[in-house]
Symmetry: C2
Subunit: 230 residues, 2 copies
DNA sequence: ACTGTAAGGATCGTTCAACAATCCTTCAAG
DNA sequence: CTTGAAGGATTGTTGAACGATCCTTACAGT
């Protein structure tokens, strides 16, 4: 190479433009996670293709992406629907979270890089709670755990966690009253962060496990009550 | 319900027929994992659509699926290619395997259900090795670890593992001499299975960690030698 | 009241053809 | 050896079309 190009390889990602199908998927993903499309809603091809001004074929590519992310379910000849999670799904999601999040922190003996992101998520949560912004509290809480998983230092774990938490959001928007669900865990997030800053990964892992058990219990309880069947 | 239907819910999956795009994805996935399409190969839309007698649109849906599974990469306006793993990918794959497989067995205190599948994988591997069927040995080895992950009892972990191991196969077919890579681990698989049968999950987890460290080292060494760049 | 059948409309599944946008190759010029 | 331009090839996206499947409604039949 004649000139210094090594500084540019980090910019490659910026060049990776995005196709229409992916942008459509982004829009739908955002709409779903914001609760605009609630679980169980059917997404008709003609209607949505028309509304977004894309062709049905392109929309179907986007549907395939989101179906693979488990945000949509696809029933042959019936269309795609926003996923409705069963209790088993919720249980499994927490199984994965316990496995991943605890393993990500258990072997830590020093505050990992990215610790500031974790503290930022905690303080953002506090700020949101102080303003009674319960939706913001939920977002901060989710980011907290995303950062926890990132301590594994693995892109694949990050992506897994992103998907798992996106699924979990499907539940949050089914039940009203996010305050009731998110507020109790604000303090515990702070305690976990403190343990990690002291380099006590094992202690943080134990506390996380208890945390997740409680959250799962609470969620399953509310869910089976809200959805007596199944 | 007037009749006993609870036994039928397990059959629902059988009813879920499959679309053309998914069948096409199945074909391509099999071709990739069998080494027919080697990493780096470009999959031209016209050629493959014609060969499989499906339309380009349907084929593109299949491409999207496989891209999301990380078996293909998609470059805008250039087409899709069979994924070529970098050393960082290999390292990350083993990071995930260590995290998942060890966590799946560490807390076991009794031989889990599915233990027979594990033993079957071991004996299948032995049988394949006895016949110098190195490809069969590799398959048995992969199944062994798939079963290990299944001890987590989580469908999502199962799917994650399926994807991770499918990615790993991309490496196996790049390097020749599967015997050299798979044979040394046959004995260790047996030892791990024995520990699990004694209910010593922690011991099995430790041995798995060492196993995976060795395999990663060996693979990275061979890979950087085969691929000096990067 | 319950089951079965038939017709109709709506939506999905898939294909095909077309065209613009982008990339790759070739080749000539500097 | 690099730059630029022309040309062909492939992808990205659209629109229309048609058969297949599902849903709804209506109409019997028991």
């Amino acid at each position: 190479m004649s000139v210094e190009t090594s500084g540019l390889i980090a910019d490659r990602a910026l060049l990776g433009r995005t196709s229409t199908a992916e942008r459509v998927a982004d829009v739908l993903r955002a709409r779903i996670s914001e609760g605009f499309f609630t679980p169980g809603t059917r997404l008709a091809e003609d209607a949505i293709a028309g509304a977004l001004a894309v062709s049905r074929n392109t929309l179907r590519e986007a549907f395939r992406l989101l179906t693979h992310e488990r945000l949509l379910t696809h029933e042959l000849n019936r269309g795609v629907f926003v996923r409705v999670l069963t209790i088993d799904d919720v249980i499994d999601i927490y199984r994965v979270r316990k496995l991943v999040e605890c393993a990500a922190v258990r072997d830590l003996t020093a505050p990992p890089s990215g610790m500031d992101d974790l503290l930022a998520a905690v303080s953002d949560g506090s700020a949101a709670a102080a303003q009674s912004d319960w939706r913001g509290l939920g977002t901060a809480n989710i980011r907290f755990h995303q950062v926890i998983a990132s301590f594994a230092g693995s892109p694949r774990v990050d992506e897994l966690m992103r998907g798992i938490l996106a699924e979990l959001r499907l539940v949050f928007y089914v039940m009203q009253d996010p305050r009731w669900f998110h507020e109790p865990y604000l303090v515990r997030n702070g305690e976990i962060a403190a343990l990690l800053q002291e380099g006590d990964g094992a202690g943080a892992a134990d506390m996380l496990a208890a945390y997740l058990d409680d959250a799962e219990r609470q969620l399953v309880g509310a869910y089976s009550e809200h959805n007596p069947g199944e």
